[in-house]
């Protein structure tokens, strides 16, 4: 069973509805996904088009041994399965495919 979130009282909340930055990281919204992008490491040319287009910053990148930025995977904690990455991946490459999310 899901643990009940502790809700703050008026006395605990900052006045005027201030929210500290970056709180979206606390909510693993990847559970909304019905289609899952699967990344093929061997096909990928690391053009970063998927990284540019991803609306949820769910394409993971890192510098490789030559300090070139490369794709390292997909952050399934936040990916909502919109499929933009698979669509925008260059036609000749198609390193990302969308698959049914298994329960």
């Amino acid at each position: 069973m899901k643990k009940e979130e502790k809700k703050l009282t008026a006395a605990e909340l900052p006045a005027g509805g201030i929210l500290e930055a970056g709180t979206a990281q606390n909510f693993k919204t990847g559970s909304w996904r019905s289609l899952r992008p699967v990344w093929n490491k061997d096909k990928c040319i690391h053009c970063l088009t998927c990284w540019i287009y991803c609306p949820d910053s769910a394409i993971k990148i890192a510098p490789d041994e030559k300090k070139t930025t490369v794709v390292t995977g997909i952050d399934y904690d936040f990916c909502k399965g919109c499929g933009i990455c698979a669509r925008e991946c260059p036609d000749k490459i198609k390193a990302i495919t969308m698959e049914e999310e298994k329960k």
Partner: protein, 400 residues
């Protein structure tokens, strides 16, 4: 007539608008965003001239509407600036949704507001329909009887708003105060600056080292808590208003509170009203007192937060009273100020015979005779010679 009280003060002849602009120059806010509207135009026109002449370092934003004026003021305030604006009537009406946002975000914006009738029919003259309509927006409302009060209220409003974290509007009656040349005592720039102090917001969006989100959606689980906070903020603002008034008296010598009592100590009949009509009422009281009618006045200065218990206590001893409203809420019931006063009395277990009059809509004159008639009827009500009216009454309007 205003007399010099502050040793370093200077007696000048100024209209309400001129002196409100003067207060704004002395307060020297970081940002003013405004759009002109009669009868408040002069306030921002004079102020923009101060900016153009280099007499104040404020960033002046000329916008395309009052909705934009309030939006820009909100933007400046969340960025961390001391922000002000000025408007009237339709302009305030166009600011509507932004007024609630300024209050909900707890932004200490100060607005110079000149009371004017709302359309239709179009009318540029003074009544309080505009700000009475904004009475539930979460703004502190301070009304002024004359130019001196509008000047003093503007200076105090900055401190009140910033301590209470609530936007505050200071009002004058359109044309009657805004355009009437009066004797006013102004204080030296440096003394006003020292009184209002420097604005140090706890959080500011331009403080990029401490980023935060403002104005996010809150649904069933959090919205209510923040609205409670706002209502509580308004309740707590009462003490802040009194503290700032005390500080102001200590510095400049003039005494202010939630309301002014005029000859209330032994009053048997009283009028409660707001704004410039209070001056006329005081004159009538002096005349009636010579004829043996023990008349008194409560002139409300701070309408939001409403000083309910205090007014109930001060009205408790009169035999009959009337509330004179310069706005009609068209509710089929009574006008706004009367409803506040009567609910305050009821909550305090006080039952006094009373009447509610709507007067002066669209700048319609209210004379000493009109006010004397109200007192004369109150005197008869107090002596059980006539019964009070059970519906709202109107002064100086041709009904039949």
């Amino acid at each position: 007539m205003v007399k010099a009280i502050y040793p370093k003060g200077k007696i000048v002849a100024k209209t309400g608008n001129e002196v409100m602009a003067e207060a704004m120059r002395q307060i020297s806010p970081d940002v003013v965003a405004a759009y002109p509207i009669t009868p408040a135009t002069e306030i921002v026109q004079i102020f923009s001239q101060f900016v153009a002449d280099g007499k104040v370092p404020t960033e002046y934003v000329a916008v395309e509407s009052e909705h934009s004026a309030m939006s820009a003021t909100i933007g400046a305030s969340v960025a961390g600036a001391r922000a002000m604006t000025g408007t009237s009537s339709q302009g305030l009406a166009l600011m509507w949704e932004m007024l609630y946002i300024a209050a909900g975000l707890r932004l200490p914006i100060v607005m110079a507001e000149v009371n004017r009738a709302l359309s239709a029919p179009i009318n540029i003259h003074g009544d309080q329909s505009d700000t009475m309509g904004a009475r539930d927006a979460g703004w502190i409302q301070i009304y002024s009887e004359n130019s001196q009060e509008s000047y003093d209220n503007m200076i105090q409003a900055v401190k009140i708003a910033e301590k209470a974290k609530l936007p505050t509007m200071v009002t004058t009656d359109g044309f009657i105060i805004s355009h009437c040349m009066e004797v006013v005592e102004v204080y030296p720039d440096e003394d006003v600056k020292a009184f209002v102090g420097e604005y140090k917001p706890e959080r500011a969006l331009l403080d990029y080292k401490k980023p935060f989100t403002l104005g996010a959606i809150e649904l069933q689980d959090y919205y209510f808590e923040h609205r409670w906070q706002l209502a509580e903020g308004m309740r707590n603002a009462k003490q802040i208003v009194l503290d700032v008034a005390k500080e102001f008296k200590n510095k400049f010598g003039r005494e202010y509170g939630f309301y002014e009592k005029y000859k209330m100590d032994d009053a048997e009949v009283a009028i409660v009203t707001i704004g410039s009509a209070a001056g006329t009422t005081k004159f009538v009281i002096d005349e009636l007192r010579e004829k043996g009618i023990k008349a008194g006045l409560i002139k409300i200065r701070v309408y939001r937060p409403f000083p309910a218990d205090e007014i109930a206590k001060d009205l408790a001893k009169v035999k009959a009273f009337a509330v004179l409203d310069r706005a009609d809420s068209c509710s089929g019931n009574f006008a706004p100020v009367y409803l506040d006063v009567v609910s305050a009395l009821f909550a305090n277990g006080i039952n006094i015979k009373s009447e509610n009059y709507v007067y002066g809509l669209g700048g319609r004159e209210i004379s000493t005779e009109h006010i004397a008639e109200v007192y004369t009827k109150l005197d008869k009500i107090a002596k059980n010679q006539v019964a009070p009216s059970k519906t709202v009454e109107y002064i100086n309007v041709r009904i039949k």
